[in-house]
């Protein structure tokens, strides 16, 4: 199954998907037994049910037991759908496999390839369906240049329900399913803009972009001097979990931290987060001990890390007598006011947290940060502010900072 079975795999990709089908109603266990016998170097993994991940002559093998159902709408587990996808694509891809490869590499180059939760981009199957729909790589690019949010592509012409996602590609083998369900709005339009630019001015760099080198101490300081903003990095140990578990929680945690700052008057310019895994053979020293699953780092760039002491609080309109009274009596010792602004009551009070760092120290542990990330943070974290981020020396972080400062998404 998968791209290897239909000659649409990218070079450098050494993944093979081997499915072991059993008939509906039987047990998957014999199939799992067979999977364990394929290669001596293997481990068992779990998605909806158990499968085997093995290494064999330089290849990464997924050996997946599945049910051979009659109709894709009657699948028991998501993997049962894969044979239908393979069959649908194989029957229509002959002669345009090269177009699929171009499209996949283009997507990879501009950073939108992969439906895993880290990327939230285009899956391989989605790239294949788009190529079938538009006939060629350039055809897809021309088509995408016209996309708007809510775009619907329905190859089999039998969409069976409405979808909310920005791109809807009805699964030809399962009309209730959106193949592009995992695609993020911004990833979608990164692809749209890159399509427009490439059509106007083709360039090999879209496929193979130059790597952005990690920043030296000096370069990091220079970038910060150019911006004169306030950068804060919150660091804590990563839990023992896979990417698809960590990244959604990481986004949630990042969102919680940003909204805490925002609610307290700190204007967030931009933010990013990443999971920095330790190099395999090396032991990390230091600050965060007791974990070798790497570090979670949440970067927040603020307009300013220090606010004035005075804070303006807006109350209800003066004509809502009861609310107005409650508002005034709940601020017994204001710095200024109460006064009126366009009919609304305003009171100025002394702000509790003048420094972003103090706010984080006081509140970050009580935020909703995700099921696995929350406990890790509460076990210990570190805040780097301004030039303190120079203390984080690993190249992965410095490359992350380089990407952050450039923030150019091949568009």
């Amino acid at each position: 199954m998968g791209s290897a079975a239909r000659s649409t795999w990218l070079s450098g990709d050494h993944d093979l998907d081997i499915f072991i089908g059993v008939s509906e109603g039987s047990s998957l266990l014999p199939a799992l037994e067979i999977a364990r016998l394929v290669a001596p170097d293997f481990e068992e993994r779990y998605a909806e049910h158990a499968y085997v991940h093995a290494r064999f002559e330089g290849f990464e093998l997924d050996l997946v037991p599945c049910y051979l159902v009659e109709d894709a709408s009657r699948i028991i587990s998501a993997v049962d759908r894969t044979p239908f996808h393979s069959r649908y694509v194989s029957a229509r891809i002959k002669g345009i496999e090269g177009e699929v490869l171009l499209l996949k590499q283009f997507m990879k180059g501009i950073g939108v390839y992969g439906s895993e939760l880290k990327v939230r981009g285009f899956s391989g199957y989605l790239a294949e369906l788009l190529t079938i729909r538009y006939g060629s790589f350039l055809g897809v690019l021309e088509g995408a240049a016209q996309w708007r949010p809510g775009e619907v592509i329905d190859l089999a012409g039998h969409s069976s329900r409405d979808h909310e996602e920005p791109l809807v590609v009805v699964d030809p083998v399962d009309p209730g399913r959106n193949v592009a369900a995992a695609l993020d709005l911004d990833r979608m339009f990164q692809f749209v803009i890159a399509s427009r630019l490439f059509s106007k001015e083709p360039d090999l760099e879209f496929f193979f972009p130059k790597a952005i080198p990690p920043l030296s101490d000096k370069e990091l300081l220079e970038e910060m001097a150019k911006r004169k903003s306030s950068i804060i990095v919150l660091e804590f140990a990563a839990p023992d979990q896979v990417e698809d578990v960590i990244f959604p929680q990481l986004r949630k945690a990042q969102q919680s931290v940003c909204s805490l700052l925002d609610r307290n008057g700190f204007s967030v310019l931009r933010s990013d987060a990443d999971w920095h895994r330790p190099p395999p053979a090396e032991v990390r020293d230091g600050e965060i001990s007791g974990s070798n699953f790497g570090s979670i780092r949440i970067l927040i760039e603020l307009e300013t890390a220090v606010l004035p002491r005075v804070e303006k609080r807006f109350g209800p309109p003066a004509w809502e007598a009861e609310h107005a009274n409650k508002f005034v009596s709940s601020h017994p010792e204001p710095l200024s006011g109460p006064y009126l602004e366009e009919g609304r009551l305003v009171i100025e009070v002394a702000r509790k947290f003048v420094r972003a760092r103090e706010l984080l120290q006081s509140r970050v542990a009580s935020l909703s940060l995700g099921r696995h990330l929350g406990p890790e943070l509460r076990r210990g974290y570190k805040i780097y502010g301004g030039e303190e981020i120079l203390e984080i020396g690993d190249l992965e972080f410095r490359a992350f900072m380089a990407r952050y400062f450039s923030a150019r998404c091949r568009i």
Copy 2:
């Protein structure tokens, strides 16, 4: 005419309005001649037409020529309406003159009495009509406690058109006119809130509030230290104009300055402005020469007077291809980006004005500041930032600052 004619004048008020009526169609000039003969110490003033302002035995006399028209809707000049007002009120105010006085003094005490453009509050005639409508001082307060924006009071029950103002009191002698047209929304609700509070807990201080004493250097520094915000005062010479000309322009200028700062990323916490007249017999030295009409001072309190260099610019949604291209090509050398945020293009550039003072120095002269204020500012101005405002020592400014910091509008 006026309050003196109907026993509703406040003590301390030494204004007398004397109207000299001529029949419709005749000339006003003989009436003006008579006015000039009343008192030797007089000057001629102009509203819609000439009148005489005279000083006589401690009184300020307005001697106003007017037409005696048959019907208030047929008036030629605004002053011709006054005799109708006087007649309407006199016929209905007997026995409740004391209630009118209480209401007027209450309004004066809480700072909402006077329809002149400096105050934008309640006129004497409006106070009289409210007393007639609600029967007594406490009746007005009870009624007002229920007011909402768009409140309509129509004594004669013959409103002839819709009004936009927050309070509409149909003029019983001229149904097309709103007696409360000059009343500002915030002044209206200052009165409403004070009415509620007084009804709950009567206090003589509503009528005769304690004066807020001017701030010493030490007190000024203490107040600023409590707030830790950035205060800027823009000062320039006042033109030779009366209050009703200066104050609307002052508000416009203040608005222009605040919106310039806001547009450039400086968050305005609050702002106030005032016209500080020089003490009559004293010659002012100094900074602003060539004028003895006092100083215009616009105070702006900012969250911060220094912004980060990096500035985030939001462009169109990525799917608007033409606008998107234009946006990207108009920012050829961004600090970061272009990137996408919820489908919109974003570019980060180097901000031109990092300091509020530099922005003001570069742009304030080209703002729209009012017909008379604009030229005065362009002749010269001074900016005081932070502790520099200590250089402004006059008591009027220090009292203004005391009111600014307290910002308590008797509510």
